[in-house]
């Protein structure tokens, strides 16, 4: 436990990871997470670990693969387009059953996007991202304090279930300063004991350990066997936070920074005499579906508030399963919610309005899109065409 101090999100995360026993970090610079490798470069060596600025994101995640195979608490961090590059490594880590920590401090997308904070990588994080049938555990902090404390939780979950864990934060959380305290004492990884599967130098003639991501003829059996762990995780590991969620007319669902704007809406609504609650998933996978379904059954409407264009809302709909209407209040590509705009959407739900509620097909209403080609401009592929 520490006293509350003012820290920048990215620095709290990096310090939290070192405190949690991370002893290998490889990364490649990208805004808005640059303070993470910067901090690691300054302090990882002092902790007895290794910091590598890799030549690319792909190299960094594969270095983590190697370090994780030795049982070392290993991690990498990046932001959205960089995490896209890492997906090959992540699916290989999942296939090789290796624990590690991957941090995504999200920015606007798609493509290069923008450096504004965003939540557009929800699908990528919760649906695998890479190829094949696999999951990563996804933790979504909503404060600098959680950013600092989640690396320890992440490593512990990753090691327990032998799989990668991702911390999904966003640019604002990474860049902001806030008072925070660590809720744990520094971990000395040398006291943790070895894994029986880890690749290392050994004596006493035990059989050698190998780490493979390629399963050959055993692939089906391997994937089916691993899914038992996934089932267990879905049953026992969902984490969430509730505010006034038991007795409300509109239940807001939001994670990360959006959930803080929702708190403002919950409190403002209370002043107006409107009953609004908040359900904040802390684990995005496993998604806390069962509890959300219970709470949603008592509400008139459920509103997904997200800095993306209808991603979180899909898990909300799966959980609610048609029993209560589910709506979307969306702020994509770097848009930022605030209490007032969320309340507008809440009032729309209660009064049958439309303002603040996003529906993809209604959004396209009356819009016609044509594929335009003009032969006067020349023929496709004809270099002599045009004027």
């Amino acid at each position: 436990m520490t006293e509350k101090t003012l820290r920048k999100g990215n620095e709290a995360l990096a310090e939290g990871a070192i405190r949690a026993g991370a002893r290998f970090f490889a990364g490649y610079p990208i805004t808005p997470q640059n303070e993470v490798p910067e901090y690691m470069s300054a302090f990882m060596a002092d902790a007895g670990g290794a910091f590598v600025q890799a030549e690319s994101e792909v190299a960094a995640v594969n270095m983590v693969y190697g370090a994780a195979a030795t049982g070392t608490r290993s991690m990498t961090s990046s932001s959205s387009p960089g995490i896209s590059l890492k997906q090959e490594g992540i699916t290989y880590l999942a296939s090789a059953d290796l624990p590690c920590l991957i941090v995504n401090v999200m920015r606007g997308g798609p493509g290069l996007g923008s450096i504004a904070g965003a939540q557009g990588d929800y699908f990528q994080a919760t649906r695998g991202g890479g190829n094949g049938d696999y999951h990563v555990i996804v933790l979504a902090p909503n404060s600098v304090e959680e950013l600092g404390n989640f690396p320890k939780l992440g490593f512990e979950l990753a090691e327990k279930y032998r799989m990668p864990c991702m911390i999904l934060a966003d640019g604002i959380l990474g860049q902001m300063m806030e008072s925070m305290a660590f809720n744990f004492d520094p971990v000395d990884p040398n006291t943790l004991g070895k894994f029986d599967w880890a690749v290392d130098i050994h004596k006493n003639g035990r059989a050698k350990n190998n780490v493979f991501s390629y399963k050959g003829d055993n692939l089906i059996a391997d994937v089916v066997e691993r899914s038992k762990r996934y089932g267990l995780i879905e049953k026992t590991e969902p984490r969430w936070e509730e505010r006034d969620a038991e007795d409300c007319d509109v239940l807001l669902v939001a994670y990360g920074l959006s959930s803080r704007a929702c708190l403002e809406a919950v409190n403002k609504a209370k002043e107006e005499g409107v009953k609004v609650g908040l359900f904040r998933p802390i684990t995005l996978w496993p998604f806390p579906s069962r509890r959300l379904a219970e709470l949603a059954a008592k509400a008139k409407g459920v509103l997904s508030v997200e800095q993306s264009l209808g991603q979180l809302v899909q898990d909300v709909k799966l959980a609610v399963n048609g029993r209560t209407p589910v709506y979307l209040n969306a702020y994509p590509a770097g848009g930022q919610p605030d209490g007032a705009s969320i309340l507008t959407a809440v009032h729309s739900i209660l009064n049958g309005g439309k303002e603040g509620l996003f529906d993809l097909q209604e959004h396209a209403e009356g819009f016609v899109y044509e594929c335009k080609r003009d032969s006067r401009l020349g023929i496709q592929g004809d270099l002599k065409g045009g004027k």
Binding site: K4, T5, L6, T31, P32, I115, A116, I172, Q175, M176, M177, E178, S179, L257, R260, A261, L263, E264, Q336, P337, D338, G339, A340
Partner: protein, 178 residues
């Protein structure tokens, strides 16, 4: 108490560092505080600004889109931030460098010649602290002592005489508001 503040000025006027100081002072006062710089492809010589929240309760989003108080240190920041101040909010203008005055009448405007006062103390660069002193007098969001404590934590490598000068600037700003 929930104070959302924007501090804006030229890069180099210390608006970012005044924000960190204010947030740290909030923490010293056992309040919750957040700080967020406007980061992005900012232009050299252009405007810089930061958002600070000081609250007795939880800090909602650290992005202050409708500030209770705006401190404007240079001319270009006035038209940018005047429109977003909350109704009934406070606008502190560095009248040494800002000649324009706001058109809005639903806010309280206080003019403080920050650079002039700072120059009087012998250093133009501490105008940001003069503005912060005025802010404290007007809002009581944090105490003067807490900012003095915060200075030692934020300006770790500052010489004692520089800290002393900073304190004087803070006090002068505080006293400049009647």
């Amino acid at each position: 108490m929930y104070q959302g503040i924007r501090i804006a000025g030229f890069g180099g006027q210390g608006v970012i560092s005044a924000g960190i100081l204010l947030a740290q002072a909030g923490v010293e006062n056992k309040k919750n505080a957040s700080w967020l710089p406007s980061y992005g492809p900012e232009m050299r010589g252009g405007t810089a600004n930061c958002s600070v929240v000081v609250s007795d309760g939880e800090v909602y989003t650290p992005i202050v889109s409708a500030p209770d108080t705006v401190i404007v240190m240079n001319e270009p920041s006035l038209p940018k931030f005047e429109p977003i101040i909350k109704k009934g909010g406070l606008l502190i203008i560095n009248s040494s460098l800002v000649n324009s005055r706001p058109a809005r009448t639903d806010i309280t405007t206080v003019c403080v010649p920050c650079n002039q006062i700072a120059e009087g103390l012998g250093m133009d660069r501490i105008a940001n602290l003069v503005a912060l002193g005025a802010f404290i007098k007007l809002t009581g969001a944090v105490t003067l002592e807490s900012v003095e404590h915060a200075m030692k934590k934020v300006y770790k490598r500052a010489k004692p005489e520089m800290l002393e000068l900073n304190k004087q600037a803070l006090q002068a700003g505080y006293d400049a508001v009647k």
